[in-house]
């Protein structure tokens, strides 16, 4: 496992940077990460070896049927392709054996029953969560692409999906912009980037990689590098789950939606500053916030404007750099001292 990774990465560095000191611009880092992701995915596919067949009992419209698929290769998306185009486009999550929610692009490992879930199933709780999580993921990707090359963008993290908070968020470190307040025009630009990314209808790919490879992929992002060991430890098999949209790779537990065209109406509504405590290693982060609706949801513009106004307020989710303080612009040093 380890050997090919080292070989790959060293050869890649040879091509990109002949110098011994590692320095990567944001763009180069993205390319490199996506390249490593593709190589690892290819390697894992080749490692499957002899192809074994599994039986997947499909339940749902048009009728229940049994599909014979390939173990560790076929995904629920492949099953949907055997049904109709409608299934491939509208299915968000797969439900295996009536209990496990499975990504559409994650290979199946066992004989199972399969149900495909879209946004209008009778209990869309998990589907909604996957949608909100994916919205955060794509927000990170679109923030990465939106800035000029001179502005370093370091993605920090996004918390678990909380739909009732009214906005999905991504906390991002912009070290070269100490005091940035986005204008309305800049927010529009971010939203436009978002829409462009979602209109491409790109699949959200999933891959489980070892801790070493994950560290190698996120070598230039010190926030992610710090998070990776604990993520790997919390996972039962010691692996890190990565997701890739277009060429942007990110860490998340998942599950995610099937492809980006399932994100319909979307707006990036605001960017707030989060100030860290003196002990935290980062002084400040920017909290990017947005609101989105699934494709096909018709909501009148007045109702949607209410959602936008609400999403402009600072999301009360816990700040990663100041977890116990008020998530506000100012730190209350006196208060903390008084309580302590």
């Amino acid at each position: 496992m380890k050997k090919p990774v080292m070989y790959l990465s060293s050869s890649l560095f040879g091509k990109l940077l002949p110098r011994s000191k590692r320095y990567l611009s944001t763009k180069e880092a993205i390319e490199r990460r996506s390249h490593l992701f593709n190589l690892e995915k290819k390697r894992q596919l080749e490692n499957v070896g002899r192809i074994e067949k599994i039986e997947v009992n499909y339940k749902g419209v048009p009728k229940d049927c049994t599909l014979v698929m390939n173990r560790n290769i076929s995904t629920p998306y492949d099953c949907a392709k055997h049904l109709t185009q409608w299934h491939t486009e509208s299915s968000v999550l797969a439900l295996l054996d009536g209990t496990i929610h499975w990504d559409m692009h994650r290979p199946l490992t066992e004989n199972c029953t399969l149900e495909l879930q879209n946004f209008t199933v009778s209990d869309p709780h998990q589907v909604n969560k996957a949608f909100w999580r994916s919205c955060s993921l794509v927000l990170g990707a679109c923030a990465t692409v939106a800035f000029k090359d001179t502005v370093a963008v370091k993605l920090h993290s996004f918390p678990g999906p909380d739909i009732r908070s009214g906005s999905f968020i991504y906390d991002i470190d912009l070290p070269s912009l100490p005091d940035w307040k986005p204008t309305q025009q800049e927010l529009h630009t971010l939203s436009a980037e978002y829409v462009m990314l979602s209109r491409k209808a790109l699949p959200i790919e999933r891959l489980e990689v070892s801790e070493e490879l994950a560290l190698e992929m996120f070598v230039e992002n010190e926030h992610k590098t710090k998070q990776i060991p604990s993520i790997a430890r919390s996972n039962a098999n010691g692996k890190v789950t990565l997701y890739k949209v277009d060429k942007y790779v990110d860490i998340s537990k998942g599950p995610m939606i099937s492809h980006t065209a399932q994100i319909g109406k979307v707006s990036v509504t605001s960017v707030h500053q989060l100030v860290g405590t003196p002990e935290s290693d980062v002084n400040q982060l920017y909290r990017f916030q947005g609101v989105a609706l699934p494709t096909g949801v018709v909501l009148n513009h007045f109702a949607y404007s209410i959602l936008i106004e609400r999403a402009k307020k600072l999301n009360p989710a816990r700040s990663p750099i100041n977890p116990f303080g008020e998530p506000s612009h100012t730190t209350h040093k006196e208060n903390i001292a008084a309580t302590a």
């Binding site: 946004f119 209008t120 909604n128 909100w132 009214g166 609101v291 949801v297 209410i306 959602l307």
Partner: protein
Amino acid sequence: MNQAEVTKLVSKLRIKIPPKHRKMSSPEGPEGRMNKLRKTVTGLFKYERIELNHNRADEARQYAERLIAEAINHGDCHKPTMEMADYWLLEKELVHKLFKVLVPRYENSNTAYTRMLRAPRPEYSYNTEKTVLELRGNPYPPLHNKQANNRQLLQNILLDAAKYEYRQTKYAEMAENIGKNEQEKPSV
């Protein structure tokens, strides 16, 4: 006046009837029109859900509704009703279906017996507004999504949360005002 009211002679249909019938041009004249409609009504009773042009669907629907209403009112021992069923249903086994299946199905219903929905129009076509005409209570999966009231849908969760927050701010404002009034009173 001893004359009976015309509206009470015929059972009132539960759908909207346009003031004029459609001529539905045919080389055979009015008889050709009726033949066309008989075919459509027969198809509707046979398949329970059909897709066709809007004009013909709307016209045939009125005759189908009337036929079912008569069958329910008079039953299968009434000669005129049986003749009418015999005329409209080209395939005779459908007469049995009408009295043995459809009459029990609709006996206690208080809505129309058929449903008409707009269907997507073929691209680059003109003057072909497509319609789906179906008998209610058919065994097929429903055509329209009635789940907009599901509170678990994402848009409903978002709107509910926004409503809740708005009310909370209003309550907070009211509570503040109450406090102020009480403070003012002693000073007055």
